[in-house]
């Protein structure tokens, strides 16, 4: 299962709620303001750091670059839009809007 999160973890609990219901091995994809969760050394970094023990975590490259995030938690994978399409093809999706 693929979970997409597009909200900032500083504004909104979508990521926390997603991680509560995601099962081990599910894939988490951060996009739009969701990519702020992938930044290292923030007050919310521990969410993704913990998630990485149970999930593969992706962040959309265009969104990361647009926001100038150049210090990401290093196990987070960067995904292109083409990768996004592949992930959506491979998994059922739930969007945590």
């Amino acid at each position: 299962m693929l979970h997409t999160v597009n909200k900032s973890p500083f504004q909104n609990s979508a990521l926390e709620n997603c991680l509560r219901l995601a099962r081990e091995g599910d894939v988490i994809l951060l996009l739009e303001d969701g990519v702020y969760a992938a930044a290292a050394g923030t007050a919310k970094s521990s969410l993704v750091e913990q998630a990485l023990k149970r999930h593969t975590v992706y962040a959309i490259e265009a969104d990361v670059k647009a926001r100038g995030l150049n210090n990401l938690i290093k196990e987070v994978h960067i995904a292109s839009y083409a990768d996004f399409v592949d992930l959506v093809e491979q998994h059922p999706v739930h969007a945590w809007l």
């Binding site: 979508a14 219901l21 059922p92 739930h94």
Partner: protein, 133 residues
């Protein structure tokens, strides 16, 4: 659209009256109900606030959707679930959530079934598609 028999879930995670999401989700439930699908509905996070008893939207000048939710069972939308933790966090009693229909024989109210996180997670994993609000 041909009958599909596919497992489709609607998830509702928004509070009811500050935006149109919950209203739209109910429209979608009724649309799905007209097709041959294995439909389930889950209220999670702020979505459980739509099930709070005693909502009165007259002062907002809108009809509200309490009546629509109360007709779900009539439309054979019976797999309706609500997240236990979300209810608890918002201090809504599990047996107080609004009814989605009445038992044909006894007239007893039928309420959404309260589930734990793991049960909802397993159900989500079994879907062909999930439409989220």
């Amino acid at each position: 659209m041909a009958a599909t028999g596919k497992k489709v879930m609607v998830t509702v995670r928004k509070a009811p009256h500050g935006s149109i999401y919950v209203q739209e989700s109910i429209e979608v439930m009724f649309i799905f109900a007209t097709y041959d699908m294995d439909l389930s509905v889950v209220f999670i996070d702020d979505g459980v606030l739509a099930l709070q008893p005693g909502q009165d939207t007259k002062g907002l000048g809108i009809k509200g959707f309490m009546a629509s939710l109360g007709a779900l069972v009539d439309w054979e939308v019976t797999k309706v679930y609500v997240d236990r933790r979300s209810l608890k966090e918002r201090n809504i009693a599990e047996d107080a959530v609004i009814a989605i229909g009445k038992d044909e024989d006894t007239d007893a109210p039928i309420r959404p079934q309260v589930l734990d996180s793991a049960e909802i997670a397993a159900m989500m994993a079994a879907q062909h598609s999930i439409v989220s609000f």
